[in-house]
């Protein structure tokens, strides 16, 4: 029966290959049973018209196929979706602000550089860059959330059963901000993509009304990229682990401290290394400041790790005893 064959085939098209043949064979047999029974009950011939009535009752192929698939298959599930929507909104607002400034800057500088009016080519390129930027950024946000969804699903399956003893204190220094962690992961990915795949776009600027690649990173910088990539990879993995555990733990705090020291070593190597940037002296002065901040951050983390208390210097200044 042609209608049955087409119907069964269409359902099979929406199923994974390992289920397809088996489900198709069973459906074909069941539909034929249904047709025969109906023909007998209504004293009608088992023809194409009856076959159409049977498959119509069965439902749209896509809907039927969906029922054969495992339930709750999400890229981003309902629990994370509100946070995802918020992150997309924030990303769009940031991109809109940055892009608006870029387009405005391109319009003004190209108009100033050319008396005949704005350079349309520069404008078109800038707008194309903006569209591409939106695409890349939204893809990164989606990727981060999809990873979190997988990690959380695994934690729920493999993790221990919840008990009241697991409730954290109201004021909990180890509590994480999920949104903050996601933004940090997004930034790590964004920097990794930029430095690895578009290094020429680091330090891009408008010069005489045109978007110019300034060659900010000198070729020698590439030799440091493996070290930097390892840092970003470890940092991303640490964020994932902390997110999956739901809060900071002693082990992850220790890993954060170790990672901070590793970051400080990379910064030190960049500072003492050969010229790596345009305006190398100036940039390295900034890096020295960053290194000082990183070391300070590591000291604070070490204090927290050893005392298990947050670093609150004003409490010492006030002469109050540290909080228990």
């Amino acid at each position: 029966m042609e209608v049955i064959d087409r119907y069964v085939h269409e359902i099979g098209e929406h199923l994974p290959w390992n289920l397809r043949a088996d489900v198709e064979a069973e459906l074909r047999s069941l539909l034929m049973d249904s047709m025969e029974e109906r023909a007998r009950a209504t004293q009608q011939p088992a023809d194409a018209r009856l076959a159409e009535a049977v498959v119509r009752e069965f439902g749209a192929p896509e809907e039927v196929a969906k029922r054969y698939l495992p339930q709750d298959q999400y890229l981003i599930g309902p629990r994370l979706f509100p946070a995802y929507k918020l992150a997309v909104k924030i990303a769009l607002i940031v991109i809109a602000a940055v892009s608006g400034a870029l387009v405005l800057s391109a319009t003004i500088t190209s108009a100033l550089g050319h008396r005949a009016g704005p350079d349309l080519l520069v404008l078109a390129r800038t707008i194309w860059g903006v569209i591409w930027g939106i695409f890349i950024n939204l893809a990164l946000v989606t990727l981060v959330f999809a990873i979190i969804e997988r990690v959380r699903a695994r934690r729920e399956v493999m993790g221990p059963a919840w008990s009241p003893a697991m409730l954290p204190p109201v004021k909990d220094p180890d509590r994480i901000s999920q949104a903050g962690m996601v933004i940090e992961m997004y930034l790590i990915l964004a920097f990794a993509v930029l430095f690895n795949f578009y290094p020429e776009w680091v330090g891009v600027a408008f010069v005489d009304g045109r978007l110019r690649l300034t060659g900010f990173l000198l070729p020698a910088f590439a030799t440091y990229m493996p070290l930097v990539n390892v840092f970003w990879g470890l940092d991303f993995a640490l964020h994932l682990i902390v997110l999956s555990q739901g809060r900071w733990r002693r082990e992850t705090r220790a890993a954060e401290f170790a990672l901070g020291l590793y970051g400080a070593v990379i910064l030190y190597l960049l500072i003492i290394g050969p010229p790596l940037f345009q305006l190398d002296f100036l940039i390295k002065a900034v890096l020295k400041g960053v290194l000082a901040l990183v070391l300070l951050g590591s000291a604070v983390r070490l204090y927290h790790l050893l005392t298990r208390r947050p670093f609150e210097p004003w409490r010492f200044a006030e002469g109050a005893a540290p909080r228990q």
Binding site: E26, S29, D33
Partner: protein, 113 residues
Amino acid sequence: MVENPQRVSLRENLGLEFRRGALVLAVLSQLRQEQYGYSLKKALAERGLEIDEGTLYPLLRRLEAQGLLRSRWSLEDGRPRRYYRTSALGEALHGDLAADWQSLARAMDRLLR
């Protein structure tokens, strides 16, 4: 009398929700004897539980994937048919769920009286 469409839609959705849970128990109860899909549908309908085929057959596959049913192919009158029956786990779960159902039904009876 025109029915309130919101009431109709809510009744449909809420009704579907408690029916969905009951279907698993209904299917397990009938598959303690081996049956193929269409004969199961008829057995359920004869006992007053109409269920559309597009829902019933995928449910059988899901219960099999969960280890509650086992199945085998058999050739009858030149047509291959897949026969299902409860596994040991399905049998045990049927007992548990039936007890839960009876207890819930008694409680609901008292509430609705």
